[in-house]
């Protein structure tokens, strides 16, 4: 499959997102239908483009940190000298996923205050769990025979990690990263309630002011953003 064909679905979502983000004022009449009684029909406090950019920045920074730390931790505890920590880390990752993301977000505030930073920290903390879990599952799921023959071929520990374990575990790890990013996009939107500037802003403003049009604009953009990113991961996983 050519690159263009493979990227067609994410590209389509991205184009739709960009079009709606930039051309929202053109649809003023449409949005007036859902909010006939309000004066301002299009959310004006921030440009939609800057909200999308900021939302992506929050999720991007948090996901990157979560990937580095999460994969790092999972790799450390699957080495010979880190094995003692494996059961605890593995259990922690699965128990932690029972915690609702909203609760983690809310609990970050008393410790870190309001704003973007506590949101990022909460996103990292929560985003770690699926990545740790899946990296562990991926590495542990490799057949012992494969590992033995790699060792038998005289590969060093580092070579085994980079040339055997990580490539074989790749699909499972990618699935974990996908889950983590999906949750982060949704949780970042709720970050609006603790003072992060995200696409949740129009929704919260709409709820506070009873303006259905604002809510719809925020909701549409978040949904498109999530679908775009998710379809990108879907394509990555197909490879």
């Amino acid at each position: 499959m050519s690159l263009a064909r493979r990227l067609s679905a994410p590209l389509a979502w991205a184009l739709l997102l960009a079009a709606l983000m930039l051309l929202m004022p053109l649809f003023e009449e449409v949005f007036r239908l859902v909010a006939p009684d309000t004066r301002a029909v299009i959310y004006q406090r921030d440009s939609f483009a800057s909200l999308v950019a900021n939302h992506l920045l929050l999720v991007g920074v948090a996901s990157l940190c979560a990937i580095v730390v999460g994969m790092g931790a999972a790799i450390l505890v699957t080495r010979q000298w880190g094995r003692d920590f494996l059961p605890l880390v593995s259990q922690l990752a699965s128990i932690g996923q029972t915690f609702p993301p909203v609760a983690v977000l809310a609990l970050a505030v008393p410790v870190l205050g309001f704003g973007s930073q506590p949101t990022i920290v909460a996103l990292i903390l929560y985003g770690l769990l699926p990545i740790v879990r899946n990296t562990l599952v991926g590495i542990q799921g490799i057949a012992p025979g494969v590992m033995e023959s790699a060792r038998g071929m005289g590969m060093s520990g580092r070579q085994i990690l980079w040339q055997v374990e990580l490539p074989l575990a790749r699909p499972v790890i990618l699935a974990g990263i996908r889950t983590s990013v999906t949750i982060n996009i949704a949780t970042a939107a709720i970050g609006s309630t603790i003072g992060a500037r995200t696409l949740g802003d129009p929704i919260i403003a709409g709820i506070v002011n009873g303006n259905t049009a604002f809510i719809l604009q925020g909701a549409l953009l978040i949904a498109l953003l999530a679908l775009c990113v998710d379809s990108l991961f879907e394509r990555l996983q197909l490879r």
């Binding site: 859902v34 003692d84 920590f85 059961p87 605890l88 259990q91 922690l92 128990i95 029972t98 915690f99 609702p100 993301p101 909203v102 609760a103 809310a106 609990l107 505030v109 008393p110 410790v111 309001f114 999906t182 996009i185 949704a186 939107a189 709720i190 309630t193 603790i194 949740g200 929704i203 919260i204 709409g206 709820i207 259905t212 809510i215 719809l216 925020g218 909701a219 549409l220 978040i222 949904a223 999530a226 679908l227 998710d230």
Partner: protein
């Protein structure tokens, strides 16, 4: 176990962490009223050198046990850690009695970063010890029960009433109980409805296999859409329907409130529920159903007496995932006026009253953990009894 067991590095690290947390971070804070930030108090400030020496002795004992982790040493360590956890609320009772002047009705004690960190480290140590000792479910649940009873007794005695969290609770106990009940009812309704829908979908997909691909891709796209957005997207059509058909409005269906919450939560629940129901029904080995048919069972009997019981553990897994997910998402639904425990979270965030946030967030986490534990245990139990049944038949 050999007496020359290698040291347990996990416990040693946790002990060191507990020591630095207890000595370095404020354990509690004393606040004159609800809004004023409190003054953080460390272990040294609370109990002086004597308390520090006692804690260090205890931790040194733990470290020593971790250094020679025979089975008996680990069991002793488990008892020690369990005792620490059980006594934690009573320590708070003592501290509260000493620090809070009973005449000052609005003075309160906030739980400091040190105390939360300590609780976390102790729970990790508990998990590690339970792992190493490979104890079965009975001691685990027994231990949980003891810890819960200790906490409950401390709460019921009234010694913790000057805790900021309890002050917030007593200020709105009726609202809290209503919100708790509402949260649980909403989650139960979501689980019930999605179970019925998922069962219907799974059966339909088994009959018409062409449905399978389309259904699963629609459901997984739904799962991708962030909750806040889905609530928002449902708002306009529901408001329109309620305005158009008055009987819907009379039922309480509105753009905001329980209706969008219920619909969105069911939509999210369908993927895990349907996937598990489908896999569960599909996985029951063909030779088992063949054997059942060979014994002269009718298709209905095969379904109700063979397929369904064997599929139950996997379906329970679906219910567990769905329930845990719905408990968290129902909190978000408070933003669109659906009520429930999330109300306290967002109210607290709005008023910068952190203990009100805790009043919403802690019960949500506890309920999620409890539901998760209960359904896991139930599925495990079912699986085990079926396993035993199989071998009994074989032998």
């Amino acid at each position: 176990m050999s007496p020359a067991a290698a040291p347990n590095p996990v416990l040693l690290v946790l002990t060191a962490l507990a020591a630095s947390v207890m000595l370095g971070l404020p354990l509690i804070s004393v606040q004159p009223n609800r809004i004023m930030p409190g003054e953080g108090l460390t272990l040294w400030a609370l109990g002086g050198p004597l308390a520090v020496a006692a804690v260090l002795t205890l931790l040194a004992a733990l470290a020593w046990l971790a250094w020679r982790p025979t089975r008996r040493a680990l069991a002793t360590a488990l008892a020690l850690v369990g005792l620490c956890l059980a006594l934690l609320p009573w320590g708070l009772v003592a501290v509260a009695a000493e620090q809070i002047d009973p005449d000052m009705a609005s003075a309160r004690i906030g739980l400091g970063a040190g105390l939360w960190a300590l609780l976390f480290v102790l729970l990790l140590a508990l998990l590690e010890l339970l792992n190493r000792l490979a104890l079965g479910p009975l001691p685990r649940w027994g231990l949980t029960l003891v810890l819960a009873l200790s906490l409950f007794a401390a709460l019921a005695g009234g010694g913790l009433d000057s805790l900021a969290l309890m002050r917030e609770y007593h200020g709105r106990s009726a609202t809290f109980h209503a919100a708790l009940r509402y949260h649980l009812v909403l989650v139960a309704a979501v689980v019930g409805i999605s179970l019925l829908l998922a069962a219907a979908l799974a059966l339909a997909m088994r009959r018409w296999s062409r449905l399978q691909r389309g259904t699963f891709s629609v459901l997984s796209v739904l799962q991708t859409i962030p909750s806040l957005a889905l609530f928002g997207l449902l708002l306009a059509p529901l408001a329109y329907l309620a305005a158009r058909f008055t009987w819907l409005g009379d039922l309480g269906v509105r753009g905001i409130g329980w209706a969008p919450a219920l619909i969105a939560l069911v939509a999210y629940s369908l993927l895990p529920m349907t996937r598990n129901a489908y896999v569960a029904l599909d996985e029951v080995a063909a030779d088992v159903t063949d054997a059942a048919r060979g014994m002269g069972m009718s298709p209905g009997q095969v379904f109700w007496q063979v397929r369904l019981p064997l599929a139950l553990p996997v379906m329970l897994e679906g219910i567990r995932i769905t329930a845990v997910q719905a408990i968290g998402l129902a909190a978000v639904a408070a933003l669109i006026g659906a009520g429930g425990l999330g109300t306290f979270i967002f109210q607290g965030l709005g008023q910068a009253a952190m203990d009100l946030v805790l009043l919403g967030a802690l019960p949500i986490i506890l309920i999620a953990l409890l539901v998760d534990g209960a359904f896991s245990a139930l599925a495990e139990q079912l699986r085990r009894s079926q396993g035993r049944g199989d071998t009994a038949h074989g032998g």
